[in-house]
Amino acid sequence: MSDAVLRREPPLRPEFERTVVDAGPIGDVARPLSAWERLTDQTALRRTVLLLAIALLWEGYARWLDNPLVFPTFSDTILALWDGIRNDGLPTMAWVSLSTLLQGYVVAVVLAVVMTSVAVSTRIGNDLLSTLTSMFNPLPAIALLPIAMLWFGLGTVSLTFVLVHAVLWPLALNMHSGFMAVPETLRMAGRNYGLSGLRYVFGILIPAAFPAILTGLKIGWAFAWRTLIAAELVFGVSSGKGGLGWFIFQNRNELYIDKVFAGLVVVILIGLFIENVVFRWIEGHTVRHWGMLR
């Protein structure tokens, strides 16, 4: 060690005392933001610009490709969408799909809560959930088809069954690992209040694991759509009142690829709405508000 370091001494300064001003009226002293900062601060705006950029890319690539039977342009798709809305009852079809989907989703959410509650309460429940999840999660919907038809016949109930299969396992997985990752101190606090069983799950575990549960809900939502569209083709609710999947399937078979893309665009739009409005709102009022998520 050099002498220079050893000898380093801070200067002696005089002491002082000050009187403190009344802090009552201190307001927001944030520096005003520049116009550009304020603009880019608007998440909605940024995302809209992003969507426009994606649409432009699509249009450009499709034009360059010039193969409308494989990849139609964005403008053609929008025209087809408009046509679909006016002539083919696309909104009704979207509604049919959406309502089926919501049914399956709700059932799956309830089931997931029940199963994971049992799983965290007992060791055998834990084994059961883990085993069932690893068994059934990888199975494609078609594997359930015969069973679904056997139990529920053709129609919405079977479709719901397949949807539940799509949503339940990923949601249960996320929920369960969320529960498992709840900090020990919070668990102890909850048990200290004498909570147990469902009251413990709803009072402590679910809110504490809410970030993971929300992710599970998002994934479940997406996979419900994937499955619904694939399953509608097969289960093809009696002709006449098909949903979006049916619309896509039929038009694909008839090689109206622009309409197929229009159907997919509807799915995308619903997805964007759910993510940017519904889930964003929920996040803003829960996990972000609670400081559990950045």
Partner: protein
């Protein structure tokens, strides 16, 4: 593309037997040699018309195979750009509408309580045939009278649903499912597509883009030649054809069943289109085709124009 490569996609089922024979006996290679080109043949198995269309239009395959309906649709949609046309047919086969409902004698007897399974409501060959039958039964313009009883189910699921006594009481399928169904005493035949069309009709064909034929004339000719030879093989020796079918499909079906099927006079293996124009007319009438073909020669290449087609 350079000559000497052909990518063929087929589907599942006995109807594609000519392609199996070509593959098994390497007939394209043989006919290519005769023309002086070494042809590299790539085979793919795809599971449905839509996948076939995607593959063909994205240039993943050169030759697609499937039912008459998809051929007419893709011809109609690509007329003027990709120009997809039929090369030849693979067979003529009857499609049966079967039922487990003892009260159903004709299509008129189906009621609200019945459900008829089809591979795809409205758009499949079976659905079109049923519509034609409905028009014949209920009168001009009433072609959609039975549509509300129909549901989409793939053949295997439809078959199990019919046989296991669920809510499916009717099934419009294809060989070999319809024959398997008829082995069950509960199941009866209501209708054959031959009745509707007034004679033998094409079930499967092969098609390709015009551009492929133009830039690969020798390869294309080799394929057509191979196809014709395969038909001869099948029609001459049912036993050998059945053996080839079992070998290529790894199916452990009884060889006698297949031979019996091949011997059925209703089942023909021929490159000549049969009664396809009736489908075309009907599809145009109901708006599924925008272009009205003047004759079957509009949607088949010249290679088979010499045949007795319809």
């Amino acid at each position: 593309a350079a000559e000497g490569r052909i990518r063929i996609a087929e589907q599942f089922g006995i109807g594609y037997l000519p392609l199996h024979v070509i593959r098994y006996q390497k007939l394209i290679e043989k006919h290519g040699k005769a023309q002086g080109v070494d042809i590299q043949v790539e085979w793919a198995q795809l599971s449905g018309g839509a996948a076939m269309n995607d593959a063909l239009l994205s240039d993943s395959i050169d030759v697609g195979a499937g039912g008459v309906g998809p051929l007419l649709t893709i011809w109609d949609r690509t007329k003027g750009n990709a120009n997809v046309m039929g090369i030849a047919t693979l067979n003529a086969m009857p499609l049966f509408l079967t039922t487990t409902n003892p009260n159903v004698k004709t299509v008129k007897d189906f009621t609200e309580k019945d459900k008829i399974a089809l591979p795809a409501v409205k758009v499949s060959v079976q659905a079109r045939t049923l519509q034609m039958a409905a028009e014949q039964a209920f009168g001009e313009g009433k072609f959609d009278a039975l549509d509300r009883f129909t549901v989409s189910l793939p053949h295997p699921d439809g078959t199990t649903a019919l046989l296991s006594g669920s809510s499916i009481t009717g099934h419009f399928s294809a060989p070999p499912f319809q024959y398997q169904q008829l082995q069950d005493p509960k199941v009866r035949k209501v209708l054959s597509s031959y009745d509707v069309l007034g004679g033998a009709s094409t079930f499967n064909s092969v098609w390709s883009k015009k551009a492929f034929r133009d830039s690969n004339p020798k390869t294309f000719a080799a394929f057509v030649g191979a196809l014709r030879e395969a038909m001869d093989v099948i029609n001459k020796d049912h036993k050998q054809a059945a053996t080839i079918y079992l070998a290529t499909n790894k199916a452990d079906m009884d060889i006698a069943t297949i031979v019996k099927m091949l011997a059925d006079p209703d089942i023909q293996f021929t490159v000549a289109p049969k009664n396809t124009s009736k489908y075309a007319e009907f599809m145009h009438k109901v708006g599924a085709l925008k272009n009205k073909p003047a004759s079957w020669k509009d949607y088949f290449f010249e290679d088979v124009h010499g045949e007795q087609g319809s």
